[in-house]
């Protein structure tokens, strides 16, 4: 072995030892204990047994909350996408002045830093229980991700094309309408569809803290120890998430030639 190879090997061994020490202390601090895990698994299986058979009689009562969950996600995605688009115009360096870009991007970063669950807890405190705070919370939840992706897509529009359309005497509004929007549309649609899937999952989660919909059914059934009813609700959720993913895949392929997320 050359000196260089020896140094490299030594470096690898040292970093591996450091990694092992890190994992050991992390496990110790988090009180990872195999015995708890073993008995826990056993209890878990017992609990899962209680979920069966699902109470399909309750399926009828689940339809409306499931519908509500879908509507919350749908409204929130549309509202969030619209606000995100406005924010993205402000956050794109090729359209907005520097100060506006700073403000818009700051709003996006601030939103990304706040988990949805924090936003919903704040909004439930402010607006009360129900579907409406859920819609608002999820719409706000879109801004960080969609705003950022939209703004980046806008910044990727070929500056030469924008210049060419400037040189026929078009105004900034016309450039946005005739150049920017058509060029970013595929990435816009693709990301909105993806966000719709995310919002379906999140709206189930938010239901549990009072935003209504199917999530609330699960939470409520667990509270009343009606596990069979809860398992029906879980099956409905699985169905919703699965079919929303299929639907958005289908639409994406149908609308876009490549069908990939950009």
């Amino acid at each position: 072995m050359t000196t260089l190879q020896r140094q490299k090997t030594l470096g690898k061994i040292l970093s591996f030892i450091a990694f092992c020490i890190l994992v050991y202390y992390a496990a110790k601090l988090c009180r990872v204990d195999y015995r708890i895990f073993k008995s826990g698994i056993f209890e878990g299986f017992q609990f899962i047994q209680e979920l069966f058979p699902p109470d399909f009689g309750a399926l009828g009562e689940m339809l409306y909350p499931a519908f509500e969950t879908v509507l919350i996600a749908l409204l929130a995605t549309i509202l969030g996408a619209l606000i995100s688009l406005l924010l993205a115009f402000g956050g794109a360096a090729n359209l907005a002045p520097a100060w506006l870009k700073f403000v818009s991007r700051f709003i996006m970063v601030a939103e990304r830093a706040l988990p949805e669950i924090v936003i919903i807890l704040l909004l439930v405190a402010a607006l009360g229980l129900g579907a409406f705070p859920g819609v608002v919370a999820l719409a706000i939840g879109c801004l960080g991700m969609l705003g950022r992706l939209f703004a980046d897509a806008i910044e990727e529009v070929n500056p030469k094309t924008m210049e060419a359309v400037t040189s026929v005497g078009a105004s900034k509004m016309q450039i946005i309408q005739y150049v920017v929007l058509p060029e970013v549309m595929p990435s816009l649609i693709s990301n909105v569809l993806f966000r719709f899937e995310v919002n379906i999952r999140l709206s189930v989660l938010l239901g549990a803290v009072g935003a209504g919909g199917i999530g609330y059914e699960i939470f409520y059934s667990f509270q009343l120890l009606e596990y069979e009813r809860a398992s029906t609700a879980i099956l409905v959720v699985l169905f919703l998430v699965f079919s929303s993913e299929r639907l958005s895949d289908y639409l994406r392929k149908k609308i876009l030639p490549t069908g990939k997320l950009k």
Binding site: N158, K160, T161, E163, A164, V165, T166, S167, V168, G169, A170, S171, M173, Q174, Q177, Y178, V179, P182, E183, M185, P186
Partner: protein, 262 residues
């Protein structure tokens, strides 16, 4: 008619690129601007349609019996001037996701009011005119194709149709054939030549042979000044004088297609 009067342009670092360019172009002129790279050819073109402001000098554009200095225009006035100047580019600079016909329509964005453009309100007679413009460049059959699916030669034809539809008082072409193979390059030159009967056509070219073949006047720019202005029949000696060190490389470039994508 356009009169360029002693324009200069310095970069922010103080380096002077244009050192006093002057010439007059009139109806009937098909001017080929030649010169070594970095001489200021493209910068001159950008000044002519107001995309860049010269540091000093005047560019008088004569239209509708008015004479205006485009280098002094701003805002709405500048946009009005740009409507009167057709430009085609090396990279074609079309909106790739829109149809061929839509791209031609964009040529007139500056001339319709913002309410009409907001609702895509082009009239049937305008659509007919746009189709006629496509007919002029012999690609009317591609009107409803997406631009992204066209070849380079076809894209440049769309760009020419966009400029024709604009009804300009002059046509600028910034290296319009640099991205095309020799056969397409000649076809584009054949389309540009007759346009000079209606308005001055000014183009920047890298291939002196093709420029001499089709243009009826050559202007050579070197180190930011006009070193030649006259007949397209340039002697080898004159060309060598204009291009200096680049002369030998030039001969090769005229034999093989240029693949200088930028």
């Amino acid at each position: 008619m356009i009169e360029v009067k002693h324009i200069t342009k310095s970069l922010p670092d103080g380096k002077q690129i244009l050192k006093g360019i002057s010439f007059v172009a009139e109806k009937g002129d098909f001017i080929g601007i030649l010169g070594p790279s970095g001489a200021g050819k493209t910068l001159t073109m950008r000044c002519l349609n107001g995309l860049t402001k010269p540091s000093s000098g005047h560019i008088y554009v004569n239209y509708e019996n008015r004479i205006k200095d485009i280098s002094k225009c701003r805002g709405r006035e500048l946009r009005e001037m740009r409507q009167k100047i057709g430009v085609i580019f090396q990279g074609f600079n079309l909106v790739k996701r829109l149809s061929v016909l839509d791209n031609v329509m964009i040529g007139r964005l500056g001339q319709i009011n913002s309410l009409r453009s907001l609702f895509y309100g082009f009239t049937d007679s305008e659509a007919k005119e746009a189709l006629q413009a496509l007919e002029n460049v012999k690609i009317a059959h591609l009107a409803h194709r997406k631009v992204a699916s066209l070849s380079g030669g076809e894209m440049q034809r769309v760009a020419i149709a966009r400029a024709i539809f604009q009804n300009p008082v002059m046509l600028l072409a910034d290296e319009p054939i640099a991205n095309l193979d020799p056969s397409n390059a000649k076809k584009i030159m054949k389309l540009l030549k007759p346009l000079a009967q209606e308005m001055p056509v000014i183009g920047v070219f890298h291939q002196p042979k093709i420029a001499s073949e089709y243009c009826n006047r050559i202007i050579a720019i070197k180190n930011g000044i006009v070193v030649y202005d006259g007949s397209p029949n340039l002697s080898e000696k004159k060309l060598e004088e204009i291009y200096g060190e680049e002369f030998n490389a030039l001969e090769e470039a005229t034999m093989t297609p240029t693949l200088a994508y930028s």
